[in-house]
Symmetry: C2
Subunit: 556 residues, 2 copies
């Protein structure tokens, strides 16, 4: 079988100037990174403000399982298909994180014949955005420590420094560390730790900021520590916001690459989908909407987490009006949601597929609550049977929706033309009815309750009184109008990753709440969230290298 | 007064394709990073192998003082001047480190009218080389820890892990840390610490490797830890060398930018000048020599450290044959070497200048030992008097050399034309007589003794018996043919930074020796060497930001 990297390498890339030209972007409006990657320049971005917007399409999925759903692949395939049927379409996806590429996760550049290229570059350093975020984050860390070192005029309570450090590498040894050992010149010993770069609030900020001025304001708002009296100290108090903005100046410009079929792809930003909102940057999405008639984007994890945050955080704050949702499912993943173990996925099992459709159906119901029409994409895998596919189509039809089989993995854009055609029909015949799930002015606790009830179908929400007190304190401090960013397992509607399908009657237990004052949301943590992954027993790094021709091998 | 950043911003940059064309580099042989930065592609670099080499000129300096010497500025000015007098010349300098830009150090892109541009980019992320080095270094750190975590099949003695971590940020809190706290899933608690990226052995390796194959071999040779029986464990044992090479693949390609006068400048690599050899990359220097008739490069610190390592490590290992040396001095720095404090530099003081010439004279004598002709460049500062300049010229003439006044800071290349003309005369009338100071097969201890005697003019070398035993052990293990890399204060020929001028009769005390098996040298540490700087009381980061027009301010 041909691997993703082999397919990617066999592709004929167009000069990025030609890809840009198809969106009406002149050559002097991009800064090239080699012949196949570019950033849109800031003056060009500013010049787009008055142009009309294209149609925004969200690709989301059922709850993920180890069987795989193919959300990015479907986003790429749909974008290619829209171009094939004559629409000016672009896709907007997230940048992959470097660290996990050396663990066990493959890259995040799609797969099969629905990929973005150059995939090695995209999966590795790309245009350096994540490195810039790492630098900006760690500059702030160094400046906080330095402030304390030189006399602590702001009276930071060292026990209450909440700003950690980041590195784009899976290094479990750095999760919890003691710093400033070794004597007076190294500072005051204290506790710290590293998260992976995608978990940085700077990443979330970059992805929500509308321009450099907004970026600096948000960076300045980051709460980095508290005093003994618990009053907050911000990044602005530390005077790091200007230098951080300078470090992020180029990273704020969206990156343009191409799909295997030479269609434009914006890949920009990549916040965690648990403690952050899991979407590509607002600036990329908004720019793409000015340049294309159709913009296909995706959100992290399943629709319960990803789509909800896309709507309630990104669209609400950026004023985006999505026109349709594509809900991706695979027969294999439906079987797992229907109770089958990964080892038992081979062979036809219509009953399991039907049982797993409960998960699909729940997401379809949920998506209707945002006022956006949905369509189901069955991402075809070799081995799916006609009877299994028919079962899904029939189930979805019973809910008044349509499920379309998509073969973009095997056939590229041609394999998703049916989906594209149906989608165009839906969008062009439809009307703007998007609305977030809850209003800005709902109390924070009730925002969580609304999501728990409407999306997770929980009977209730529980939390330590300290959590409720904290939410009230933030409301009193003027943060009550922020949306909430739910951090829970992506594998279930509940907080128990083993409960697949469409469970109800559970309680959502909040473990902790955090204020991301710069990003502009309250993180509500339900369960254990890992912000620094480790490497597996045999990390994929051991097999990554250059072959004799100088090609990258082992990276997929 | 116009600042460096204002002068840089007022420059008219040529498209980098045009700068490349002047060296005969076709447009498809470079990967552009915007319109003003590029990397030479690997196939093009390989195609140069059979071309003849141009003349290599080293710019070095007297011992640095807080008054400043202007080595990079002179390198840039001389390159521009050579172009002005009709020579096809290029310069090769080091990339600046990001972290120190936020402390108190200015950038490292020259100054006045002798700068390389775009200076903001060069001083910040540039083309991402240092970020790639940071990633490669920290991947190895994570893989070592991960190996121990998953059962430690190699039997690493955790107390003897010698591979630390790096970050390109001045963060003193990370100098010495305890890792893997917080429980079983975070690994085994241990000690570690961060150095600044330029201190990474990966940086030294990248700067000495001749191609990707050599790079991977050297990376594999890095010793990362020892067993209880003290047998070494290498990066190759950890199986990190392939993935690290992939991470460094693009970083290995030299960067091309331009001077304010639109002449080609290669800026590539930047190892520390104390625990490493302090020169730009071999691959950039060798490529430049294939493309230009004159290549002007520089080495870190003063000639005692920088030039010695340039000759004995870089030139020896890369087979380079430098044709001439420019020794940079300023009247102000000579005064400080003559015993004047920085606060007292204003006003004519011929006696102090003459006294300080002892330092200059010592370096001139030393340089003769490498068989390379030297010329002195007096880097002119406003306030230097005619009498002071005459005193230096007369002193240098007494040694049979010539001192040329250079005004490139104020006048650009035109200000260094005299120097360029004299240099061409020296080089074109001269012969190849370069030789390193000591042969490869001299015992390690005697290599140190030779440098101490011939360059530092010490009476002897002292060290703990453990140090001598360690050197003998390395010789027995096959490392005896490596050159030594001296790490000592740059401010004096001795190990006492206060002893300016031309001291003798001192003893060189070795504190520690380290084996850089990948870079291919033995580091001999004399005195305290700081590999992770801190930020000052008022870091320059506090004043760095964007102005209303989006320009970077506060970075200089």
């Amino acid at each position: 079988m041909t691997t993703d990297i082999e397919i990617a390498r066999a592709a004929t890339l167009q000069p990025i100037t030609e890809v840009a030209a198809r969106l009406g972007i002149p050559a002097d409006a991009i800064a090239q990174y080699g012949t196949d990657k570019a950033k849109l320049t800031a003056p060009f971005l500013a010049s787009l403000a008055d142009k009309p917007d294209g149609h925004l399409i969200l690709v989301t999925a059922i709850n993920p399982t180890p069987a795989g759903e193919g959300k990015t692949t479907t986003t790429v395939g749909l974008g290619d298909a829209l171009n094939r049927i004559g629409k000016k379409a672009a896709i907007c996806i997230r940048e992959p994180s470097l660290g996990p590429c050396f663990g066990m996760k493959g890259g995040a550049a799609g797969g099969g014949h629905a990929q973005v290229v150059p995939m090695e570059d995209i999966n590795l350093h790309f245009t350096g955005d994540f490195h810039a975020i790492t630098s900006a984050h760690n500059l702030l860390s160094a400046m906080i420590e330095n402030h304390v070192y030189w006399g602590n005029a702001l009276e930071i309570d060292q026990r209450r420094i909440v700003w950690r450090r980041v590195v784009d590498m899976n290094d479990r040894a750095l999760r919890q560390i003691t710093t400033s050992l070794g004597g007076v010149t190294n500072g005051f010993p204290g506790e710290s730790g590293f998260d992976i770069t995608v978990a940085s609030e700077v990443m979330a900020i970059l992805c929500l900021a509308t321009d450099l001025e907004d970026l600096q304001r948000r960076l300045g708002d980051i709460i980095v520590a508290y005093r003994r009296d618990k009053s907050p100290i911000t990044c602005r108090d530390i005077k790091a916001d200007g230098a951080m903005t300078v470090l992020l100046k180029t990273a704020m410009q969206p990156n343009l690459v191409q799909t295997l079929e030479n269609n434009p792809a914006f890949i920009h930003g990549g916040p965690f989908a648990n403690i952050a909102h899991g979407c590509n940057s607002v600036i990329a999405t908004k720019s793409a909407l000015k340049l294309a008639d159709y913009v296909v984007t995706e959100a992290g994890f399943g629709a319960d987490l990803g789509a909800e945050k896309f709507f309630d955080i990104k669209c609400r704050k950026a004023g985006l009006k999505p026109k349709a949702v594509v809900l991706v499912a695979t027969i294999r993943a439906l079987k797992m949601n229907g109770g089958v173990a990964k080892a038992d996925l081979a062979g036809e099992n219509v009953a399991a597929v039907t049982a797993g459709c409960d998960n699909l159906g729940r997401h379809i119901e949920n998506l209707a609550k945002f006022g956006v029409p949905a369509i189901v994409a069955i991402n075809h895998f070799t081995g799916d049977t006609e009877a299994e596919i028919a079962a899904v189509k029939s189930y979805v039809a019973g809910l008044g929706r349509e499920a379309i089989i998509c073969r973009h993995w095997a056939d590229g854009g041609a394999g998703a033309e049916d989906l594209a055609a149906k989608l165009v029909e839906m969008v062009e015949g439809g009307s703007d009815r998007f609305k977030p799930l809850y209003p800005d002015d709902l109390p924070l606790w009730e925002k969580v309750e609304t999501i728990a009830r409407e999306i997770y179908r929980a009977d209730g929400v529980s939390a330590d009184p300290a959590v409720r007190a904290q939410l009230s304190a933030w409301e009193a401090a003027g943060f009550g109008n922020l949306p909430v960013c739910m951090a829970k397992t992506q594998y279930s509607f509940t907080t128990d990753p083993e409960r697949r399908g469409a469970p109800d009657g559970h309680t959502l237990e909040i473990r902790e709440v955090r204020l991301a004052a710069g990003a502009g949301f309250i993180v509500v943590i339900c369960g254990q969230i890992m912000t620094m992954p480790g490497l597996p027993r045999i990390p994929s790094a051991e097999n990554i290298g250059l072959d004799e021709a100088g090609n990258v091998v082992g990276l997929f």
